[in-house]
Structure formats: structure tokens, C-alpha cells
């Protein structure tokens, strides 16, 4: 493998990884606070692309406005699913919450088939994101650079919210102990709602960038990216925000490098991602950046 091909693979891996990272951050955030693996995250991600699609198609909005509206709408959808499917189960065992999340996921996918039809749709790409930049032998699409920068920006913004604001303080308090947080006059419902809003907005940003890169949208498009983001979140240490980011980049680079170095194994790419998940769970279940927290009894 020559140097230029190696660098091209690095560029491809980073761009794929930044998308995984964006989705994984939302996953990990909800888990960090509610101890809930929100399996519907990938489907929320899918919804955002349809919001953009219909925003442009039916309301003839300019693309940037359509993106912003889609992100807001997706955030509200996330809050709504929390209100309907998770809040009534707050006192129930964690397993019920998990099953409810799987139910929401199936519901959104199949409702998508009914409402949007199962036929894949072509996602319009504004010229700005459709341009190739060529550095010697290495070719990078503008969308790759944009998604890389955006994922870094959102990581910073999120760290700021979680560690420097009052809402963030409330989120961290709830993640430690819900009952005591209530006694400290924290509005638990509102804070959890905000967490879902932010998590879903991040899924929407990931979704829009994903669709700009792979301009084909369909109701089941969220399943694989959702699973990959889940793996990324676990690799980085689920509940840990920089960890999800790191996990996303590691997963993206590994997938690309696997094909780059061992082309004959290219059909086993997804299997390899799950192998990483199993290895991490076996040997470092807290993930790379996760802290070993004792479960409270």
C-alpha cells in the first residue's frame, strides 16, 4: 500500500468515523443520564432525513432552512417519544424501558414505510457539499471536511452544556441519583426531556450529514448506522461523551483499513465491527475511556 493510498484511506476513515461519532454522542448522552440504551436513536436519525426531504420537496424551502427546521423537528420528536414511551416507565425495571425502546424503533421504521413508502428516495445535495477537493493524490469531498468540523464543534458544545451550565449540572445529578435530585429541587422530567431533545438533535445533524454523503434515504436506513454508533459508544465507554467520539473514529478507521489492508475480507466488514464490540465487552467492558463505576445497591 503506497503512502497516498494509505492517506486516502485515513481520510475516508475519518469522514466515516465523524458520522459515527455524531450519532454515538447522542446515544451515549441518553445512556449516561437515564441508563437507557435508546434503540430508537437510529430511527430518529432516519426521520431527520425525511424532514429535510419533505421540507425541500413540499415546502420548497432553501436547503439550509430545511436543515435547521429538520433538526428542531427531530429534537421535538425525540422529546415526544420520551414523553410517550419512556416517561410512564420511569419507575419500572430498566428492562421494560429497553423493550419499550425496541418497540419505538420498530414503530418508527414501519410507520416510515407507511407514511414515506418503502421506496428509497434521492436526497438532494447542494453544490457546496458536492465538490471534491484534491490534494496531490488524495481526494476529499467537502462534505467530509464539514462533517469532521461539525462533529468537533458539537462535541465542544456538548461538553460545555454538560459541565458548565446549570442544566448540565442537573443532568449529571440525575445520572447519579434521581430521587435525591428531586429533593434538591431539580425538575427531573424537564431535564430528561432536554437530554432527549439534545440527543435527537445530534442524531438529526448526523442524519443530514449522512444523507448528504450517501444521498439515498429509506425507512430502514437508520438500523446499521444506529448499531455502529452503539458499538462506537460502547468502545469509547458508554455514558462518556469524548469516549463516544473516540469510539466513532476508531470504528470508522478500522472498517476502512480492514478493506484497505485485507480486500478479500471486505464482505465481513459489519461482522468485524461486531467482533470489536464483543472483544471490548469481554476484555474492557467499561470501554476505552469509561470509568469503572460500582453499581449502587
Amino acid at each position: 500500500m503506497s503512502l497516498s493510498i494509505f492517506l486516502q484511506n485515513i481520510a475516508n476513515g475519518l469522514s466515516l468515523g465523524s458520522l459515527y461519532a455524531l450519532i454515538a454522542i447522542g446515544y451515549t448522552m441518553v445512556y449516561g443520564i437515564l441508563r437507557l440504551i435508546n434503540f430508537a436513536h437510529g430511527d430518529i436519525f432516519m426521520l431527520s432525513t425525511y424532514f429535510v426531504f419533505y421540507g425541500i420537496l413540499i415546502f420548497s424551502l432553501p436547503w439550509w432552512l430545511s436543515f435547521i427546521i429538520a433538526i428542531i423537528l427531530t429534537a421535538f420528536t425525540g422529546m415526544l417519544t420520551e414523553r410517550i414511551a419512556y416517561r410512564p416507565l420511569r419507575k419500572a425495571p430498566k428492562i421494560s424501558l429497553l423493550i419499550s425502546a425496541i418497540g419505538v424503533s420498530f414503530f418508527l421504521e414501519n410507520a416510515g414505510v407507511v407514511v414515506f413508502s418503502g421506496i428509497p428516495k434521492s436526497f438532494a445535495r447542494p453544490e457546496l457539499f458536492d465538490t471534491m477537493l484534491i490534494f496531490k493524490d488524495i481526494r476529499i469531498s467537502t462534505i467530509n471536511i464539514v462533517s469532521f468540523i461539525i462533529s468537533i464543534i458539537f462535541l465542544m458544545a456538548l461538553l460545555y452544556i454538560v459541565y458548565k451550565t446549570k442544566t448540565g449540572l442537573a443532568m449529571r445529578a440525575i445520572s447519579v441519583d434521581v430521587e435525591t435530585s428531586k429533593l434538591m429541587a431539580i425538575d427531573v422530567n424537564k431535564t430528561i426531556s432536554i437530554t432527549f431533545g439534545i440527543g435527537s438533535a445530534l442524531a438529526a445533524v448526523g442524519g443530514v450529514l449522512w444523507a448528504l454523503k450517501y444521498p439515498q434515504i429509506f425507512p430502514f436506513m437508520g438500523i446499521i448506522p444506529g448499531l455502529k454508533a452503539f458499538i462506537a459508544a460502547v468502545v469509547g465507554g458508554i455514558g462518556n461523551i469524548p469516549g463516544a467520539m473516540l469510539g466513532g473514529f476508531i470504528l470508522g478507521l478500522t472498517e476502512i483499513m480492514l478493506v484497505g489492508f485485507m480486500p478479500e475480507l471486505s464482505g465481513y466488514r459489519d461482522a468485524f465491527a461486531f467482533l470489536i464490540l464483543i472483544l471490548i465487552l469481554l476484555f474492557k467492558p467499561d470501554g476505552l475511556l469509561g470509568k469503572n463505576v460500582q453499581e449502587k445497591v
Binding site: I5, V113, G118, P120, R139, Q216, M221, V259, S266, G267
Partner: protein
């Protein structure tokens, strides 16, 4: 008969099935197609052909034809369930479908076991009909298609180095790639790299980087249109300058809609194209009525399902009854049936012998290039 007991069971089931149909005075034909999932476009195009054909020929043996459509969700297990449902719940006398070989293989197995004749319009993998007495197809098979497209690449386009990018989750893709490889290597060409992916993968940047690195002059990607569209985009973006070639699944309007300018120059074999020299009155009439009904040019999938419906009705007419065994024998004896896409003769394996057309994308549409005879 291998198993007398099974035969008796099947036979009595058939008696029940046919008596139910007699009583209702309609002839029920089952259709299983992917109405949802990644191949939903294929299912939709298939339905356009069936519906138009039903409008033109609504009756057989003096009775109304009722099409019972079941969605197989682009899923292999669901495909088997769909056929099971058509046979056991709806008591159909024959089955049409499905788009995609991967769906037609499990569906065909169920139909064959139950002894209900099944006719697929566009599934090209040899395994669809192999070893099954009750499964037929109205199209050519992949060994012919793969060798036709390999010959075209080598002889007509002068290409010598090919890369393969195969969907390992699809029988169709794996089969067609192998047949292409065999002929291309026999002619003296070289397969410089053989890469894989799975249906629904969306990132192909690593594979395309490797293919560009291999120095391939042509990429043969016999996958389904959605994945192929993404491959075509990413390949051009990463700087792949070679030709793109594939099989009949590429001949789909969605490919052009998603890949846009990156689909320019794609070469594909297909069943039919309206620009190909129209031979019969029925094909001219088909193009005209298709445009009237749907307001667009006919596509290869719809014309094939149109022909499949008519061929099945023709077989029922020739059988003179709705007994599935009689229909099966009539289908097997098909010779020189004139359809909109050409003449169909069914060989001893249950496959149709017919020419392939070569198409090329120019200015955002598929255009006719050549006809290759078997």
C-alpha cells in the same frame, strides 16, 4: 414420484384448492413482490406490468382473473411466508413473482413443494428454477447474461482489466459476478481485484480506493440499483475513471435518480428497451398503452411482468383447466409465445431462451446499444 404420501397430500390439497376456486367463479392468481424494503422499486415496477396486463386481458377460460398481491418485504424468510400464505390461505392456482432471485429462490421452493406452478418475470439466477418442476421464468438466466456482458466488455469496448464489486448477501450478485469472471478470463481478460459488500452498505470508499489502486479499466458491479448508485457516486468522487458495467438490475429509473451525473456511461444488459427494434404488433401496442396509463416510458421490469402475466394466462388457456398440474405442463410446453419483449420458449429447465439487450446511460437516460442473441 419420490414420495407417494406427499403426492397424495398435495393432490388432495389441490383438489380442495380447485374446488374452492370453481365455486367462486374467479381464477385466483397469487403475486408475491417486494412492495417494501430495499427492492420496493422493483416490486412497484413489477406491479405496473401486471396491472396493465390484467386490464388488457381480464379473463381466462371465461372467468375473471383475480390477482392477490402479498408483500414479501424484500426479505427471504418473508418471501417463503408470502408464498405459503398465497397457497394455504388464498388457494391460488398459480403464482407470479418475484423481483430478485434471492426472493424467488425461497418462494419457489415453497411453491414447488406444494405443487403450485410459479412463474417469475425477472429473477435470473439459475438456482431459481434448478431442480424445481413447478418453477418457471420468462427471462434469460445469468450464465448467458454474464457471458454476454463480459463479451461486450472485451470485444466491443476493448477492456482487458476488470474489477468486481459483489453483494455477498444476494444470490443474484454472487452468481452473475462468477459468470462474468469465467467468460472474461476465458477471453483473455484479467480480474484485477474482487471485492465484496453487503446489501444496505452505504460506504464504499475503502472498496473504491482499492479498485482505483488496482488499475481496473472497468468495474463490474452486479448489485441492486440503490447500492450501485452509491458505489457509482463514491467511485467518481474518489477519481475512478474506468467504465461501469452491470446486469439487468441496473436498468432502473432509481439508479439514475440517485446517482445523477455519476451514472453517465453505465453499461448494463437488460431484457428489453423501447428503442430496440420493435418486432411485433403487441410490443408497439404495449409501449403505447403503457405511456397512456402511466405517463412514462416503459421499463424492462414492467414489460417482463406484463409478458409473464400473459404467458401464464396463455398456459391456463392451453391447459383448459385451473388444475395446477395441467397449468404446469402447459407452461413447460410453451413454445414461441409472442410477448411484448420478444418471443418466449421455455427450455427443459423451465428457463426462457431469449436475447439480451445492451444499454448505456447517456444524458441521464438508458439508451439502446446492441442486441446479443443466445
Amino acid at each position: 414420484m419420490k414420495n407417494r404420501f406427499l403426492f397424495l397430500v398435495v393432490f388432495s390439497l389441490l383438489l380442495v384448492a380447485s374446488s374452492v376456486v370453481m365455486a367462486e367463479d374467479v381464477i385466483k392468481i397469487g403475486v408475491f413482490e417486494p412492495m417494501t424494503g430495499p427492492f420496493a422499486v422493483g416490486g412497484e415496477l413489477s406491479m405496473m406490468g401486471y396491472k396493465l396486463a390484467q386490464e388488457h386481458n381480464p379473463t381466462v377460460l371465461g372467468k375473471k382473473v383475480e390477482l392477490i398481491v402479498v408483500d414479501n418485504k424484500s426479505d427471504k424468510v418473508e418471501a417463503a411466508n408470502a408464498v405459503e400464505r398465497l397457497i394455504n390461505n388464498h388457494k391460488v392456482v398459480a403464482i407470479l413473482g418475484s423481483y430478485s432471485s434471492g426472493l424467488s429462490i425461497p418462494g419457489g421452493e415453497v411453491a414447488d413443494k406444494a405443487g403450485i406452478p410459479m412463474l417469475t418475470a425477472t429473477a435470473t439466477n439459475p438456482l431459481v428454477t434448478m431442480g424445481k418442476d413447478y418453477v418457471f421464468r420468462a427471462c434469460f438466466i445469468d450464465p448467458f447474461q454474464g457471458s454476454a456482458v463480459a463479451k461486450y466488455a472485451y470485444n466491443n469496448l476493448g477492456l482487458r482489466k476488470a474489477a468486481l464489486l459483489v453483494d455477498v448477501a444476494q444470490d443474484y450478485s454472487v452468481g452473475l459476478a462468477n459468470f462474468f469472471k469465467k467468460t472474461f478470463e476465458k477471453l483473455g481478460g484479467e480480474i484485477v481485484t474482487n471485492l465484496k459488500y453487503q446489501t444496505g452498505d452505504q460506504d464504499f470508499s475503502a472498496q473504491m480506493t482499492e479498485i482505483i489502486n488496482s488499475g481496473a479499466e472497468v468495474l463490474f458491479f452486479p448489485g441492486y440499483f440503490g447500492d450501485v448508485a452509491l458505489i457509482a457516486i463514491q467511485g467518481r468522487e474518489l477519481g475512478f475513471k474506468g467504465a461501469y458495467m452491470g446486469g439487468d438490475t441496473l436498468d432502473n429509473p432509481k439508479l439514475l435518480e440517485i446517482a445523477k451525473e455519476h451514472a453517465e456511461g453505465v453499461v448494463a444488459t437488460s431484457f428489453y428497451h423501447p428503442e430496440a427494434p420493435a418486432t411485433t404488433e403487441i410490443s408497439i401496442n404495449f409501449v403505447k398503452s403503457f405511456k397512456e396509463k402511466y405517463g412514462e416510458n416503459p421499463n424492462a421490469v414492467s414489460v417482463m411482468t406484463y409478458d409473464a402475466y400473459n404467458l401464464l394466462l396463455d398456459a391456463i388457456e392451453r391447459a383448459g383447466s385451473t388444475d395446477p398440474n395441467a397449468i404446469r405442463d402447459a407452461l413447460a410446453a410453451t413454445e414461441g409465445f409472442v410477448g411484448a419483449a420478444g418471443t418466449i420458449t421455455i427450455d427443459e429447465n423451465g428457463d426462457a431462451i431469449r436475447p439480451a439487450v445492451v444499454l448505456k446511460v447517456k444524458d441521464g437516460a438508458f439508451h439502446y446499444e446492441a442486441t446479443i442473441n443466445p
